[in-house]
């Protein structure tokens, strides 16, 4: 037995009825004011387009240096994985691993996972890995920190500006684009539309 029109607020557990929203609308919990769900036009189409853009920007951001620096004719450039690797070589492997995961692996999982879900949904298919893939994305999301990483890059540039000539690279612009694409995609996608594709099975008999 299930109540598809009922929703429980995820922050205060208040039971409310789901109501249709206009495009761009947002349903807010009447007790604690948490956002319950949003409605956007062509939710899946737009999210897919933005995720494809994110994938391209992610590839560019990791193939080209984020910043390069010159001191007395010496020039150094760094890619994200090289920075993480350098921390590992210095014996700060845990810090290196943390950076490697939050700035590279988790964003990659987020993008690849969303594409793996959205492409079949766009084609009218419901992939059998929908649930595990979506759960993985949700678990990885808080740890995917591209925007914090880029702010860190900006702070580093200011710190270095006193001692060297620093030049923002192509990678940096790609990462800025990536931040926008990811934020936009996750505000566009309405998870209710994804879950509505799943059939509700009868509850398993009690053992």
């Amino acid at each position: 037995m299930h109540h598809s029109a009922l929703i429980a607020c995820h922050e205060c557990d208040l039971l409310q009825r789901e109501v249709p929203l206009p495009d761009g609308g947002k349903a807010i919990c009447q007790r604690c004011q948490a956002t319950l769900y949003t409605q956007s036009t062509d939710s899946i189409d737009r999210a897919l387009a933005l995720m494809l853009a994110a994938a391209a920007l992610f590839a560019i951001g990791n193939a080209f240096p984020v910043v390069s620096m010159e001191i007395q004719g010496h020039r150094t450039e760094a890619l994200v994985w090289q920075g993480a690797w350098r921390l590992h070589q210095e014996g700060e492997s845990l810090v290196g691993l943390m950076v490697f995961l939050t700035a590279l692996v988790f964003p990659l999982v987020q993008i690849a996972g969303m594409l793996a879900i959205l492409v079949p949904l766009r084609l009218g298919l419901t992939p059998n890995y929908l649930v595990p893939a979506y759960r993985t994305i949700e678990q990885v999301k808080p740890w995917s920190m591209v925007e914090v990483f880029m702010l860190g890059v900006l702070v580093s540039l200011v710190k270095l500006a006193h001692m060297a000539k620093v030049v923002p690279g192509i990678g940096m612009w790609a990462f800025f684009g990536l931040i926008i694409a990811l934020a936009w995609a996750s505000s566009t996608l309405n998870p209710h539309e994804v879950w509505a594709r799943l059939e509700v099975r009868e509850p398993e008999p009690a053992r």
Partner: protein
């Protein structure tokens, strides 16, 4: 009169797909009929887990602020920087807006997170009915700002990767960076294990 909640009606909302279904009887663990996720009305052992992670984070908070996070060496000598001296450096080099930003992200946010989450956990344990809405908002803010504390870890990483020219100039990560990263990860885990719905459970009348 109490507000209708899922738990009050013997219902449970799936934490993955948000489908509201009848809770399994006798407190047994069930699975969501739509997505197959484990059903639980509240996050399991939320208060105990939050406390455990908070205490661990508080222990790491000390070395994170005392140990150097960054060691700069050049032909002029070697200099160790803690989080706080890094902020002071930014301030004195004339970029005070950035100094304020780094101070907020690296010092204020972790400290406020430790205090605020302790307050939330303690108020839930004492079934406080005060400031329900404000406490929920506080939790929302904590969830949002926590990740920004990673800022300094990324700064150290970028500097260490770029300034790598042997005797001319060299920047290395210090032990403090590991402790500091630990504080950020543990406080994020602590706020994830807390369940804001328990704030509102205090308003439910006891009916067995």
């Amino acid at each position: 009169m109490t507000a209708p909640t899922a738990a009050g009606y013997g219902l449970v909302a799936c934490h993955v797909c948000e489908l509201v279904t009848r809770a399994p009887r006798g407190g047994a663990e069930g699975v969501c009929p739509r997505c197959g996720a484990q059903l639980h009305s509240r996050k399991p052992n939320a208060v105990a887990r939050t406390w455990a992670l908070l205490i661990a984070a508080a222990i790491l908070y000390l070395p994170a602020n005392i140990e150097p996070v960054m060691i700069t060496s050049s032909f002029l000598g070697t200099q160790s920087d803690t989080i706080l001296s890094g902020v002071a450096y930014l301030y004195h080099s004339g970029s005070w807006p950035l100094a304020v930003l780094v101070f907020a992200a690296s010092i204020l946010v972790p400290l406020l997170k430790l205090i605020a989450l302790s307050y939330l956990a303690a108020s839930v344990q004492s079934r406080s009915r005060a400031n329900l809405l404000q406490r929920t908002r506080l939790y929302r803010v904590l969830e949002f700002v926590g990740r920004w504390s990673m800022l300094d870890v990324f700064v150290v990483m970028v500097l260490a990767a770029l300034v790598n020219m042997g005797s001319l100039a060299n920047i290395q990560a210090g032990r403090g960076a590991m402790f500091f990263g630990g504080v950020v990860v543990l406080t994020m885990l602590a706020s994830m294990s807390f369940d804001p719905r328990m704030i509102w459970d205090a308003t439910r009348e006891e009916n067995g």
